[in-house]
Each structure stands twice: as C-alpha cells, then as structure tokens.
C-alpha cells in the first residue's frame, strides 16, 4: 500500500497556503492526515498535490475565551482533549474526543481536519452542530464564517469551497448551569459510531428546560439536530416521562442506514438507547483541578480513518436529503 506520486507544498503563512491551493488544481489540504493517508495508501485518494499547513504558526493556537473554544486548524485532537481550560469551558469536547479512534490517532489527527473530513459518524461534526458552533475559512476572496448547520452537506462533503482552507473551529462554551451528555454505541470500543448523541440542556430558575439541543451522528448522511425531541423537552421539568417522550421522538426521527455491522432497525434501536441514556445530564460544575491530566470518562477508542467505500454510510445510502433546511420539518413532522 504505497500512495501515488504527488507534489508536497508547505507554505509558512495562510496567504501562501491559499495561493498554493489556487495554484495546484485538485490539490488537497493536509493537517494531521489521519483520514487522508489511509485513503492515499489504498490509492482511493490520489491528489496531485498536498498543501501541508503544519508550518503555519497561527493555526497551532488553541484559545479559550468567555464565549468559545477556538481550535486552530493544526491543533491535535489530543491537545484539546487534555486541555484543562477546554474541559472547564466546554466539557463535551473531552467527552466526545475520548471516542475518537485511539490515542495514537488523536495524537496526530486534528479537530478541524475531522470537521472538514465530515464523516457522518464522526464525533467532532456532531459536536459543532450541537453547540451551534461555526467554522472560519479563508479563500482567494478573503475569510468567511460558516455556521455548523450550513457546513456539513453530506457524508465527506462540506460547504467549504475547493479553493478555501479551514482556519479554525469555534465551539461555544457550555452555558452556565447547563447540563450535558454524550453517548455512543460502536461495534468495538474506538470504532466509528454506529449511533451517537450529544445533549445540552439549560434550565430556567423554576427547573424547567428553557433551551435544549440534541444532535445525533452515525444515523444519516451527516450529523443532524433532532428538533422534535428538543421540543419535547422544552419547558418540561425533565422527569423520566418527558425524557422517555423525547427519546421516542428522537427514535421516530431516525432512519438508520443498514450495513454489514447492523441492519437498519437494529441500528435504530442502538440509537434510541443512546438517546435515552443522557438522563440525568452531567452537572456542570467545573471539573476539579486534578482532573486536568486525563479525560473525564473512561475512554473508549476506535479504528481511525475510513476510506470511502467501506462500511460507513455514504451519500448514496444516507437516508435524508442533503439540504439541511429540509431536515427540520422532517424531524418535526
């Protein structure tokens, strides 16, 4: 398994990278390369050139502000996973990252790379959608911001243009007092999710849910928000009954793809279980300071990169329409 020939370009600035991308038709951007290299080794991907952004210093920054965790395009999964400030600001990141492949893959792979790869089962796209985050990309005409809801088109496809480079991802911080959960079912620990779900719930002073976000992965051609399930919880006091109603609503909205690891109804059941679990959500007290060395939950890990054509859902077998706008009504019914 040896890749085909390609040109290697390693610009030192964002401007040079954008120019290099423009100057090499068909070129691909490489950051950590943990999904791209297997595809190239299988010769499923044969880009004529790689634009290697690892020399661009400003893409290596991980910033936590009052509003968001801002992850530069060269920041590795593992860096984000182990960062104590990130854990305080947005604990869902570490929780979800623990499910991303295995430690050696997370040592090399990048969060932004995972977002741009946009595997329908991957954890980072789900999280960006769940948190209402956004991407910042740069192209020949300058920079632009793309909301998560507009970024993921379908499996392995985003709205980033071919001449654009993703610079950073913004994950809004967890609102004060909010509860959260992340659950996943995979064939073996560390495998790609067969079903995954993230939840954020904000409560009003009277204890009722005033804002609910539920996102699911592995069940459609891209991560989706489950609006009907969110609505089922809004304004309620989050007891067993309302959570069960929300889980039912979530399950009803899912059309899981079948594959060699699971038939559709079976996958739907797994998904339902995942979504039924997150009650009660984690409390949001900041993690104790001694927590910062390791990720919070016992980690599970998975085979990493997924070349096209294997067992992951593809745009062909993904059940829903690639246009995100038509998803809302579908879920709400």
């Amino acid at each position: 398994m040896k890749p085909a020939l390609f040109d290697h370009v390693a610009p030192a600035s964002i401007a040079d990278a954008v120019a290099a991308l423009a100057g090499h038709p068909g070129a691909m951007v490489i950051a950590g390369g943990q999904s791209l290299l297997p595809a190239m080794n299988f010769r499923l991907a044969t880009p004529p050139a790689l634009i290697d952004i690892s020399r661009i210093a400003e893409l290596k920054t991980l910033t936590v502000t009052d509003r968001a965790v801002v992850v530069g395009a060269m920041v590795r999964h593992r860096t984000v996973e182990l960062d104590p400030a990130v854990a305080r600001a947005q604990p869902l990141l570490a929780a979800a990252l623990a499910h991303v492949a295995h430690v050696p893959i997370r040592n090399r792979g990048t969060v932004v790379g995972s977002l741009c790869h946009a595997d329908a089962s991957a954890e980072m796209p789900l999280l960006l959608l769940l948190t209402d985050g956004h991407m910042v990309v740069a192209g020949p005409t300058g920079r632009r911001t793309i909301a998560a809801a507009d970024f993921f088109r379908f499996h392995l496809t985003t709205s980033r243009a071919a001449d654009e480079i993703a610079l950073e991802a913004h994950f809004p911080v967890l609102p004060a007092g909010a509860g959260w959960a992340f659950e996943e079912v995979a064939r073996r620990s560390g495998d790609f999710a067969l079903a995954s779900v993230g939840v954020i719930v904000e409560r009003a002073a009277d204890g009722t849910a005033r804002k609910v976000a539920i996102a699911a992965g592995g069940i459609a051609s891209r991560p989706i928000r489950l609006t009907e399930a969110e609505n089922a919880l809004l304004g309620t006091t989050l007891n067993d009954e309302t959570v069960e109603l929300a889980a039912q609503a979530a399950a009803a909205a899912v059309t899981a793809p079948g594959d060699i690891h699971a038939s559709a109804p079976c996958a739907a059941s797994w998904w339902r279980r995942s979504s039924a679990r997150p009650s009660p959500p984690h409390a949001t007290a900041p993690p104790p300071p001694d927590r910062d060395r390791r990720r919070p939950p016992p980690a599970r890990t998975a085979p990493p990169p997924q070349p096209p054509g294997s067992d992951r859902p593809t745009e062909e077998d993904g059940p829903d329409d690639p246009d995100p706008k038509e998803d809302g009504p579908r879920n709400i019914r």
Partner: protein, 767 residues
Amino acid sequence: MSAKKPAKYGIGAPVRRREDPALITGTGRYTDDITPDGTLHGFVLRSQMAHADITVEGIDEVRAMPGVKLVWTAADIADLGGLPCQANMELADGSRLTAPPHPVLADGRVRHVGDPIAFVVAETASAARDAAEALMIDYDPLDVVVDTAAALDPDAPVIWPEKGSNLAFEYHGGDAAETERVFAGAARVVELSLVNQRVVANYMETRGAIGEYDAATGRYTLTTGTQGGHSMRKILADDILKVDESLIRVVTPDVGGGFGTKNFVYSEHPLVLHAAKTLGAPVKWTGDRGDHFVIDSHGRDNVTTGRIALDAEGRILALQVDLVAAMGAYLHQFGPFIPEGALMMATGLYDIPVWFMKVRGVFTNTTPTDAYRGAGRPEAAYLIERLIDLAGRETGLGQVEIRRRNFIPPQKMPYTTVTGQYYDSGEFDAHLALALEQADFDGFAARRAKSRAKGRLRGIGLATYVEICAFPGSEEANVVLNDDGSATLYIGTQSNGQGHATAYGQLIAKYLGLDLDKVETVQGDTDRVRTGEGTGGSRSIPLGLASVDIASKVLVEQIRQLAAERLETSAADLELVDGTVRIVGTDRSVSLAELAASTPGKAKLKAHGNFQQDGATYPNGTHVCEVEIDPETGATTIVGYTVVDDFGVTVNPLLLEGQVHGGIAQSIGQALHEAAIYDESGQLVTASFLDYAMPRADDMPSIRFETRNVPSITNMLGIKGAGEAGTIGATPAVMNAVVDALDAARGIRHIDMPATPSRVWHALNAA
C-alpha cells in the same frame, strides 16, 4: 523446607525466552527487513472481479515505463507448473481426488477477487505498483457464486465446467445404513444446523518473499516466512520450477505468525525466483494487508447439519453429520484435507458407538480455504459441543450432566473411537470437575440474578474438547558441541513465534549443564538443516523435543566417555555443570570447550535423535465461559473465562500459557467478532482492518488457566501438544455461553457466529 523451587532448565521449567532480546530491541529480522544489494521490487496485480474472462492490454507500454524491469502475464511463464493440491484422497465413489489447474498467474480467466493476473518488477516497490496499475485489464464478467450453502444448487454458476457442478469432492465416514437404523429407533433426536464462518488468519506480519539466483551454480535462494522450508522446496522443485530439489535453498528468517496459512506455496514464491533468474538480480515482493485478505488461504467456511440419537437416559447412540465445506475457487495445497480433521474428531470425547458423516467440498468464487489454527478440529469440536449442549437443554439434563453421561470413562482408556482415533489417555470428568470448581459454576445462579437486576442477560457455557495433534511421524534433531563449549541444535521444525528455540534449548541446557544462551537452535534453512517437516498440528514439541531428548542424551554419553578418559575416572562419577564435566563431589573437571577441542581427529562431538511416533496424541480439556449480554444493544461481554487442559506434560509453563491465551483470543474473535463476508458479486467487503473486526485488548477477558495433565503413552515424553487447543475449546464455550443467556431470557437455542451485537439484537427481537 518450603515449596520446591522449579528447576532452572529442563522439562517443566518456566524459562523466559531466548528469542526475546532481539525481538524487544527491534533487531529481529523478518522477511521485509532483508534487502540484498541491488534488489528489485515486484508487485502482483490482482483481479478486482470474482469471475471473468480477461485480457490484459498495454503490456508493451508498461514495459517501457521508467524503472520497469519486467512485466509478466500467464503467457510469459508458460513453462512454470501450477500450484499443486496435495490431497489425493480416496473419495466416496472409490476414485482419487483430482484438482483443477491452479496457475501461478491467471490464464485468461479469473475465479476470485485477488486472483493474480500480472507480475511487475521495477526499481522500487512504488514504481512497480505505479506500473502495474497502468496495465489495462479487460474483464468479461461471468456469473458468480459465493454462498457455500448455495454452491450445489442446480442453477448455480459452475466454476469448473469439466467437473459438471461445483462439487469438488465427496467423502464419507462411518456406516450410513446402521446410523439410519439407530436413529429410527432412538428415544430422542437432537438436530442442529450451523455455520462455521469463514475467517482470515491475520498474522501481523504479512507475507513477503525474496528470490535470488546464482548463475554460476544454477541455485535459487528463496527467503520467506514459512512454517517449514523443506516441503516448500520440494513443491517448488518438483511441481513448479521443475528443477532438482538440491538447486533450491529456502531460508526462513523470523516469522511474524503463521497459524497454518504460512505452510503453503503461493504464486509469489516461484515468481520472485523465476524473476531473479531472468533479471540476474534479487527480486523482492512484500505483500500488504490487502494482499493478505484476498490471496492468503482463508479458514473454516463450513455449513453443517449434525444430528445425535439419544436413548431415554440421554446417552448418545449415534451421530450423523452432513458437512459442506467451501474450498474457494481452487483446491488449495491441503484444502480438501481440512474437513477430514472435522471427520476424524467428530465424536469428541464421548462414547458414541455408531456414526455416519458425509463431507462435500464445493467450489465458490472466493479465496481458497486451507489450514487455519486447528484445521478441522475446531469445526469438529464446535459441532459436537453445540450439539451436546442442545441435547442437555432438550433432555433437561443440563450442560454438565449430559456430558458426564456420555464421556468415555477413564477405565475404557486407551480407547479407539468409532471414527478410528486411538485416545491413549485422558480423564475427562476430572478436568470438567476442576474447571467447574475454578469457575465457581455453583455460584452462577446468584451471579445471573445480579446481572438480571442490572437488566443484563448472563450465560455460562462449557466446552469439553479433545483434539488430535502430532500426527504419526518424526522430526530428526542433531546436537553439536561447538569448539567454544556451546551447543547447536539443528532441527527442521520452524518457529512462527511459539518459542521453539527456548523449549528445545532448555532441555539441552539441562543435559549439558549450559546456560540457555549457550545453546543455539538452527532452523529455517534447508541448506543447514537436512530434513524438516515444519510446524503444524502441534507437532514441534511432541516430536521435535523427543528427538532433542534422544540426541542430547547420546551427546552427554559421548562427552562423559571422553571426559572419563581425560580425568581418568569412571563416566558414572561425572556430572555436567556450568559448562564443565566434573567428578561429583570434587573440583576436578574439564571444560566442554577443552573436550570439544580435543576430540580425536578434530571430529565434532555430535549426536542424532529421531523419535518415531506411531500414533497421534489427543490433548483435551474443559473451557468455561461466562458472558453478559446487554439486550438493548445486543453486545456480549465475556466476564469470566476458565480453562483446565490436559496437555500430557508441561514443557514450559510460560510458553504453554501463551499458546492457550492466543488460541482463545483467535477463537473469541471467531465467536464474537470476525467474519470474512463476500457480497453477491464476489467482492470481499471485509478486506481491511477497518471492516474485519479483530479482537482488541479490551475485548479479551482475563483467562484463568490450569493444567491437569495425564501423560500420553504414545509420545515418548508424555507430551500431547498445545498449539491449537485454545482455538478448539473456546468457540463452542463462548457460543454455548451466549446461547445459555439467550435461552434463559427468550428460549433461543441457537445463534450463528459471530455473535455480533447486531445478530444478538435480532435474535432477541425476533424471539
């Protein structure tokens, strides 16, 4: 006195391995680590279709590409013979098995995905691949059959028209009419149809091969991972290259696992040799994981129906088996032999008086099957152990009592089974009892109740297995005392990672009074070792060590005699310690180095041993597996695993336990995770580690292992062999545990392997 400290060396000593210092420091030498000066690199272009007529175009253009040295298709190597099938067994109709041709490169037609089409040699491996991919293959597709159970359907596409159907062969065992008669009068009949699915060996070191040719002597050298180079040399010489055997040398460096599948000659072996001769340069081919998945022989792939007739007390009166075994698109080197193992061992360790078994081998458009760890015995054990488990459920006797009622009792030993096997020793109820105690079988009900309280389904399963090892034969050993006082063993078995050099060395070290690092084992070179039967069927220790024992004793006697003369004493007063021969109780001694240097005429002190074993050996034991199933996801977790084995004699407990652990892991892999899956068009959809689920560290339980040995009376040292045992006992134990959980919860009495979350979930939701 406290407990006796184990001896440092000799049989039974827990000696850490002599092989390890190199392997843990990165200085091991596997095939791909070797690159002679001037090496060129080969790439095999393989079929992407399962069944098609092909033409290859663009050959001249590719030959002209930079760095390309050679492009071959079938027409260019017409003088080479094909890959032979060595199973010329007698069939049910009295004829001898004949195999269809299996060319080194597909000749006009491809019959499975991965079938080799072209061989390209270039200056680098990448350039060879670039060039091969520039060839244009024109496929004219033919209909495809991949389903073992459907291969004999009247409308199935026929892969070898000259055979008339996809029936490759049929052979029988036992008495059909008598079996029918017993079944007709039986109080109860228990029947089970099951699939023993296709799996892939997946040793971590993929195959590679380096061919060299010396024009001056006309000799070929093949460097490749093997399970014994001598048999490979003979096939290459007689069947393929058609040269005298003495002109071929096969060198086996470190081998990164074999599990049966590295026994065989594959196309790349003659290709690199023939190319090296043609080009006058070493030619190297390194297979990758993708090659492994589609070209190295697969394991298992049986569809079987078994029936047992029982009397009113639950005693088995007769066994009837109908086994269909997928052979793949060609008959592989030992392929048709493999179901024979299932036939020989069909009755397990039960006293079954009557049987009939029908074995049909069928062609499908799939990679050929052949020996994979256990090679027929796991299939036998899986069938009989699932059947007896079902009988325990249907009779109400339960999984323990049904076995006890049917065991061959110790007083009947030695015992010849109705299938013709001579079980020389064994106490089956005793290892069952010990295993049940170790696994706290009696406490299971309480544990199940606890699991139930958590919403989990708990099950416990048994397998009481017997297998056949160390087939009749011999493995000669030669031990030489070197001038520096060290010793060298020459032997033709072949370690694939089991640690033979340690097992042999610890015995020699004890006899000669040497440290283990003064005992070198030479294996894996047909020029340096005269004969060899290789590793397989757990033969290396029972046969090889017996010969080592004989040779060592002879050498010790020679040394004593020589030393007695030197020290002017009686040989009986001498002991070999610390590299010297010493008069017991004195400080008068002579070193082994001095003795070696002083032999008359400088002849080497050396000795030969060749233990001939007339029968096979029969390791046996009990596995107890406990599982917990999450009914919401169908996920199975192994929560307890206990094994008690009868290996006859334990040579090195560290190595032995390692064999058991590894065998169980492969077996748990088959039971819960692994499956080679073809789609209808014959594409192998599980052709990488992304889709083929190998067990990982967190899929494995902690195994509790003990021996309860009853020495073999067939083997000179009492050893029975242990290489396959874990693989044989564990699949039925795990599946019986899964079924126990499902039966208790929903009355489900069978589920096929692998018991993936999806499959278990479906079983639970269909019930």
